[in-house]
Symmetry: C2
Subunit: 419 residues, 2 copies
């Protein structure tokens, strides 16, 4: 097979370890210089291809590429940009081919979630549909852990570890303060459609007296009366109550709590996230002093507390993507296959993109305790191994020493793209 | 001097390292068994003394006490409870003496902030005023860093490190997303009256193009027009804007932004913290996609990312407190004295409580950049050393292995206390 170039891009919400996958792709490609010329990274995801904004990763030193393994965020820029169907957006795909042809790109590595798998699948069909064969491999990534087939999505384990550690730590704080001050602490975590990260908070404690005392999952409708009774019970028994609420928690009518139009004592609608709504409810109904934290981007960028398992898996799927491409596979995604939970053993497998694209893996009901407010032993068996090990970044002057790449642009050869 | 017992209590908001001070007190007292019998910890701060709810720390193993050094929160429970003046609250002080006498307590170690220093000062006067001499030493602690005389308050360095690390990490995330999604990220940090923690976020980057692009300090009135112009400028130049806002940021009328009564497009008053108000402003005035995080208790309990310097200083002031007491000093507080910033050298000094109690150390204006939105080189010189070094806790099953003490209660000898 003649030597051609590769395109790599990051897509959707970034994670603490998506750059570890980039590192796996680039380092592995560099070990196969006979077959892969250069890896061009898309500046801001797939937009980099459409706009011919390519970064020549061959201009980065080996040390800089190695440092991607411990650097959070998306080093090349990501994008929330979904390519439409080939039929209705033919011009976009033709532009992709034009750019690929101009830069002799025949390998396409796309690092993203479910939507990105769909885009990657379409690119894999460019040969059959538009006569320009591209080997397209999807590299899985999402803190939401909602990709199907793979046992876990790289990025999730580190966010899960952040959420569990933060819950354990904040619980110790509020437990100290409860006698005369804050009785209820609420942590809002990500997961608009699936409660995987909320579930991970459950690792912080065991049994009904250890925090978190209540988890509110998006999978179950918010039961106001049962919730308030449980808060009251926890405060009565333990002196305090730690609540973890998913940003995607919904009322029985299916509306996000965050949008539920709760009104305060003055009749004003409460804005803000789910945590603010829950705090307002606890204050107005139970008259308990409340604090709340919203982890937001902190939870998915917290490389300082990344899971070692997650970092290794993120690297492994990047590496496997290149190896699969070189084996001639197309339209597949490397997956994490769990061989055993105790001891934890995993290996890399593959899944056809046709079975990955646009499918979401919900949190199974058997992972949620019967009362709806906590996780089961099965959930602990699943989640526990994913947060194992600490993979600390290097520090300089007391702060993590994250890498900034040179990002040398590849000279443009084409006229500017107009959508 | 005959052997007597000691009382130790934690007061006010807890920190990631207040237990390291407890460890310093208890371990040092154990090394002086000839003079200090047992250390009784107050259950929930000074309330433990008033209610005769004492924990016998001599029942804890050496390993458990050593583990306090890496465990956040207040291991014995804290309290927000200020003793009034001796004149007006004589009964309370007489109750204290009754409890101290019943348990042969002649040493009083009080681990807290400015209000606690005032309480400690009053206890130090029990001998002269009420005929029961107690050696009272204040052990400094507060994430707010507003204690006078001491160069830094133990607890601040770790919270500062958390804030700086989180700002750096979240900035990498939003920088990746800015092209097609979030342009503005806001992190709300603690500091109701002083901007020390907001200033610490400034360590995350250098120069005007590195995050945080804007810091909003409680020391300066919020200038809406200048702020919006700066956000716009940062987005124009860098593609995104990272803002750190102190929970204590105020409008020109001196009202907290969090209470400023901002109304949304529907005329509803916006509730929630300063971050929600700033996000609402950015969205409505600049039409930019915004995300915000509220660190709340996470920042002051994040022992997993504690500053090594802070842990050492927290331990040192606990140790020094016992040594000062044994030297016969009364009504003093061990302080951190900075000998040099580069290289960082410090030692323990002392301050009379009369000069500590009820005084706040504001963030100096010379630490805030002339434009009001960032920190100066002088601030960096001051803050830099305080976040140095990582003092990771041990982990078990992927989570920090924090200690739970036995907390053996001391048998009560007195009738219950009624306020």
């Amino acid at each position: 097979m003649p030597k051609t170039n590769a395109f790599y891009a990051q897509s959707g919400g970034v994670t603490a370890v998506i750059n570890a996958s980039a590192c796996g792709v680039i380092e592995t490609a560099r070990r196969h210089r006979a077959r892969i010329g250069r890896v061009f990274a898309g500046c801001n995801g797939i937009l980099g291809a459409l706009e011919e904004e390519l970064i020549d990763t061959s201009r980065e030193s080996a040390a800089a590429i190695a440092a991607l393994r411990h650097t959070p965020g998306g080093a090349f820029g990501s994008a929330r940009y979904k390519l439409g169907s080939l039929e209705e957006n033919r011009a976009q795909y033709e532009r992709l081919i034009e750019v690929f042809q101009a830069h002799d790109i025949r390998y396409f590595f796309y690092n993203g979630g479910g939507d990105s798998a769909d885009t990657c699948l379409k690119v894999s069909q460019l040969g059959a549909r538009l006569g320009y064969p591209v080997t397209a491999i999807h590299v899985p990534k999402t803190v939401d852990n909602d990709l199907p087939i793979t046992d876990v999505s790289p990025g999730f384990g580190s966010a899960a570890k952040y959420v569990a550690v933060s819950t354990r730590e904040a619980a110790l704080d509020v437990a100290s303060m409860a006698r005369t001050s804050t009785r209820v602490f609420i942590l809002e975590v990500m997961g608009r459609h699936a409660g995987w990260l909320a579930a991970a908070a459950g690792l912080a404690g065991q049994g009904r007296d250890e925090a978190p005392h209540i988890i509110l999952f998006p999978e179950l409708p918010f039961d106001r009366a049962a919730f308030l009774a449980r808060v009251q019970e926890s405060v009565g028994r333990c002196g305090y109550c730690v609540i973890v609420v998913s940003e995607g928690a919904r009322d029985p009518q299916g509306r996000f709590l965050a949008d539920a139009g709760t009104t305060d004592a003055f009749g004003h609608r409460q804005l803000g996230g789910a945590a603010a709504v829950i705090a307002g409810l606890v204050k107005s109904e139970l008259r308990l002093k409340c604090h709340y934290a919203i982890a937001d981007y902190l939870q998915r960028s917290a490389r300082h507390i990344a899971s070692q398992v997650d970092v290794e898996q993120a690297y492994a799927v990047g590496k496997a993507a290149v190896e699969l491409a070189l084996e001639g596979r197309n339209a597949v995604m490397p997956t994490i296959v769990r061989r055993s939970s105790h001891p934890y053993r995993w290996q890399v497998g593959t899944a056809p993109l046709s079975r990955v694209a646009n499918r979401e893996k919900p949190l199974p009901r058997r992972f949620i305790r019967a009362d709806g407010f906590g996780i089961t032993a099965a959930a602990r068996r699943y989640l526990g191994p994913l947060v194992q090990g600490e993979a600390y970044p290097p520090y300089r002057d007391g702060l993590p020493d994250y890498v900034s790449l040179r990002k040398s642009p590849v000279a443009k050869k084409l006229a500017p793209w107009s959508r």
